[in-house]
C-alpha cells in the first residue's frame, strides 16, 4: 500500500515535470509548423526581403518589423546598458546596506509594473515630450518606444549584473586597493573585466526582454507596418507590436500564417540568445561555483518575459 502510494506520487510528479518539457516542445512545434505554412503562399525571399507588410495587398515582407525591432532595441540598450551598469556598481560597491536594500526594492518594482502602465505613461509623458522636443509628427515612433524600453529593461540587467559583481571574490578588491588603486580604478581595471561574462549575460538577457516587449511598445510606436521605418521620430512597428495589433483581426489564412511566422522568429531569436548565454557561461572562467540565489522577487525581475 505504502509502496504503491509512493509509486503513484512519483509518477504524478514526473508527469508534472514532463508537462513543462513538453510545453516547450509544443510551443516550438505549433508556432513553427503553423508559421512556416506561410511559405505555401509566398516564397521565403519575398517574406524575408520585401520592405512592405501590407494586409490590403496581401504582401507580407518582414523587413519593416525586423528593422523596427532592431532599431528600437538597439537604441534602448545604448542608454539602458550603461545606466543599469552604473546602478548595479552603485548597489554593490558604493551604497551602504540600507540604501542597497531600498535600491533592490526600487528595481523589483520596475519589474512588477505592468506593461500597460509603462505604455500609458509613455503615451502621456514620453510621446508629447518627443513631439515637442524634436518637432514634427505625432511623437509616436522608435525613439518614444526606446525610451520606454530603457526603464523596462533596467530590472533584468541590474539584477543579473549585480549578482555578477557580487560573486567576485573579495581578494580582487583587497588586492587592487592594497596596491594603491582608488575605488574607481579597482572597479574599472579589476572588477569589470573580471565580471565581464556575467555583465554580457545581463545585457543579452536585457536584449531578450526588450525584443519581446509588446504592449508598452505597441502603445507608443505608431504601428506603421507598410514601409520601412523612415526616421526615429515617425511611426514604425516591431515584431511583437505587429502581432498583437493584427492577429486578432487577421482573417485570411495567409495573413495569420505570416503573423505566426513572426512569432516563430521571435521564439528563434530568444532561444538563440539563451543558447549564446549558455555557451558563454560554460566557456567563461569567472562562473562562480557558490552563487548566491537571488530573492524570488529578483528572479521575477530577471526572468519576466516581455508582455
Amino acid at each position: 500500500m505504502r509502496l504503491r502510494q509512493g509509486i503513484v506520487a512519483q509518477s504524478i510528479f514526473f508527469t508534472a515535470a514532463a508537462i513543462v518539457a513538453l510545453s516547450t516542445a509544443a510551443l516550438l512545434l505549433f508556432t513553427g509548423s503553423r508559421g512556416l505554412a506561410v511559405f505555401g503562399y509566398m516564397n521565403p525571399a519575398e517574406f524575408f526581403l520585401s520592405g512592405s507588410w501590407n494586409q490590403n495587398d496581401e504582401n507580407f515582407g518582414v523587413l519593416p518589423l525586423l528593422a523596427g525591432s532592431l532599431l528600437t532595441v538597439g537604441l534602448a540598450l545604448l542608454i539602458s546598458g550603461p545606466l543599469a551598469l552604473g546602478v548595479s556598481i552603485f548597489m554593490v560597491e558604493i551604497a551602504p546596506e540600507p540604501v542597497r536594500r531600498v535600491m533592490r526594492t526600487v528595481v523589483e518594482l520596475f519589474a512588477a509594473l505592468p506593461s500597460v502602465i509603462y505604455g500609458l505613461l509613455g503615451l502621456t509623458l514620453v510621446v508629447p515630450w518627443v513631439r515637442e522636443s524634436f518637432g514634427g509628427g505625432l511623437g509616436k515612433g522608435i525613439l518614444a518606444a526606446s525610451i520606454v524600453l530603457v526603464f523596462m529593461t533596467q530590472p533584468t540587467i541590474v539584477s543579473i549584473a549585480e549578482d555578477a559583481l557580487r560573486a567576485l571574490p573579495e581578494s580582487l578588491r583587497e588586492g587592487a586597493l592594497a596596491v594603491g588603486a582608488t575605488r574607481w580604478q579597482m572597479i574599472w581595471r579589476v572588477l569589470l573585466p573580471a565580471a565581464r561574462p556575467g555583465l554580457i549575460t545581463a545585457v543579452v538577457l536585457g536584449t531578450g526582454r526588450a525584443v519581446g516587449e509588446t504592449i508598452a511598445v505597441q502603445m507608443v510606436i505608431g504601428n506603421i507596418t507598410s514601409r520601412m521605418p523612415k526616421s526615429l521620430l515617425t511611426g514604425a512597428t516591431t515584431m511583437p507590436a505587429a502581432i498583437v495589433t493584427q492577429l486578432p483581426e487577421a482573417t485570411s489564412p495567409e495573413h495569420r500564417a505570416a503573423l505566426i511566422m513572426v512569432a516563430f522568429l521571435l521564439l528563434v531569436i530568444t532561444f538563440s540568445l539563451i543558447a549564446a548565454v549558455r555557451a558563454a557561461g560554460s566557456r567563461g572562467k569567472a562562473r562562480p561555483t557558490t552563487r548566491r540565489r537571488p530573492s524570488p522577487a529578483a528572479q521575477t525581475a530577471a526572468v519576466k518575459g516581455g508582455d
Binding site: G6, A9, Q10, I12, T15, A16, A17, V20, A21, S23, T24, A25, L27, F30, R34, L83, G86, V87, I89, I94, A95, V102, M103, V107, F110, A112, P114, S115, V116, L120, L121, F151, A181, T182, W184, I187, G208, G212, E213, T214, I215, Q218, P240, I243, L247, P248, I260, A263, L266, T270, L273, I274, R293, P296, A297, Q299, T300, V303, G305, D307
Partner: protein, 323 residues
C-alpha cells in the same frame, strides 16, 4: 657615491614624486566624479519610479470610488465603472493559479526530490529555462493556435487562463524548487530515520517547511497574471458581453483590467466621453494592487528570513537529499 650622482638622484626623485602626486590627484578626482555619476544613475531610477507612482495615482485616485469599483462599465455614458473587469481579472487569476500551481509545484518536487542527473533531467531543466525566456506575446500566439483553434475554445476566459498558466510555469517551478531545496536535509533524514517512506517524507516533512516559499511563488505569479496584457488580447478577447458581466462561464470572452486600459487608450471607445478618466482610474487600481502585492511580499520575506535566522543553530543546508 659622489655628490653629483646624489644630486641627480635627488632631483629625479622630486620629479618622480611630482608625477605620482599628479596622477594620484587625477585618480582621486576621477574616482569622486565616477562615484557621483553612479550615485546619480541610482538616484535617477528612484526619481523615475516615484514619479511614475505619483503621476498614476494623482490622475487615477480621484476616479476611484465604491461605485467605480462595482458598477458595470459603459461604452456610451460617462460614469461607468470597472466591476466586470475586476471580476474577469480575479476569475482568470484564480483559474490560472489553479492550473499552474499543481503542475509547477509537482515539477519542482520532481526536480528537487526525485530527479537524478541525466539526459531527462537535463532536458527538463533546459526546457524550463528556455520557456522562461519566451516573450509573452508568443505564448499568446501559441494559445490562439492551440486553445482557440485546435481545442476550439474560442476567445474565452478559459483560453486566457490556460495561456497564462503556461506562461507562468517556469517561474513557478523555479521559485518552488528553490523553496523545497532550502528545506534542511536533516528534516528529510529525521523523517526517513523514523521509518517514513519518501512520499511521506515529502508530504509531512518537506512540503510543510517549504510552504512559505511556495506561497511566495503563488503571490508573485499572481502579480504577473494581473498585469498581463498581450497574451490575453490574443486569447481572452477585449470585450465583456453586456448580458453576462459577472458570468462564471469560463467559455465567455473577457477583458481584464489591464486589457481594459489598453482598449480605452489604443482601440478607443468613440462614444465614451470619460474614457480618459476611466483609464486613469483603472491604472491606479492596477498599480495599487501590484504595489500592495510587492511591498507586502517584501515585508513577508523579510520577516521570514529574520525568523529563520532567529531560529539559527539549525543548519541551513541548501543541498537536497538525492537518490
Amino acid at each position: 657615491m659622489n655628490s653629483d650622482t646624489r644630486e641627480i638622484l635627488a632631483t629625479k626623485d622630486v620629479a618622480w614624486e611630482r608625477r605620482i602626486m599628479a596622477a594620484r590627484r587625477r585618480a582621486t578626482l576621477i574616482d569622486r566624479a565616477m562615484t557621483g555619476v553612479m550615485s546619480l544613475a541610482a538616484l535617477f531610477l528612484v526619481i523615475v519610479l516615484s514619479g511614475v507612482i505619483f503621476i498614476i495615482l494623482r490622475a487615477g485616485l480621484p476616479a476611484i470610488s465604491w461605485t467605480f469599483l462595482t458598477t458595470a462599465s459603459s461604452i456610451t455614458d460617462p460614469g461607468g465603472g470597472i466591476g466586470p473587469q475586476i471580476w474577469v481579472t480575479m476569475y482568470i487569476l484564480v483559474l490560472s493559479l489553479a492550473i499552474v500551481t499543481p503542475i509547477g509545484v509537482g515539477a519542482a518536487i520532481y526536480l528537487s526530490e526525485y530527479a537524478r542527473p541525466g539526459p531527462i533531467t537535463n532536458a527538463i531543466r533546459f526546457s524550463t529555462e528556455a520557456l522562461a525566456s519566451v516573450p509573452s506575446v508568443v505564448f499568446g500566439v501559441f494559445g490562439a493556435i492551440v486553445f482557440l483553434t485546435i481545442m476550439n475554445l474560442g476567445f474565452s476566459v478559459l483560453s486566457g487562463s490556460l495561456t497564462l498558466a503556461l506562461l507562468n510555469l517556469p517561474l513557478m517551478v523555479r521559485i518552488a524548487e528553490d523553496a523545497i531545496r532550502a528545506v534542511p536535509t536533516a528534516y528529510r533524514e529525521a523523517s526517513l530515520a523514523l521509518g517514513g517512506s519518501r512520499w511521506e517524507t515529502i508530504r509531512k516533512a518537506v512540503l510543510p517547511s517549504a510552504l512559505p516559499g511556495i506561497i511566495t511563488a503563488l503571490v508573485l505569479t499572481g502579480g504577473r497574471i494581473i498585469g498581463e496584457t498581450a497574451p490575453l488580447i490574443l486569447t481572452t478577447g477585449t470585450t465583456i458581453s453586456p448580458n453576462a458581466q459577472y458570468s462564471l462561464n469560463p467559455l465567455q470572452t473577457g477583458e481584464t483590467l489591464a486589457v481594459h486600459i489598453w482598449v480605452l487608450k489604443i482601440v478607443g471607445v468613440p462614444g465614451l466621453q470619460d474614457a480618459q478618466l476611466v483609464a486613469d482610474g483603472s491604472a491606479a487600481v492596477l498599480l495599487l494592487i501590484v504595489l500592495i502585492i510587492n511591498v507586502g511580499m517584501a515585508y513577508f520575506t523579510n520577516r521570514l528570513t529574520q525568523r529563520l535566522r532567529g531560529a539559527s543553530g539549525a543548519p541551513r543546508a541548501g543541498g537536497s537529499k538525492k537518490g
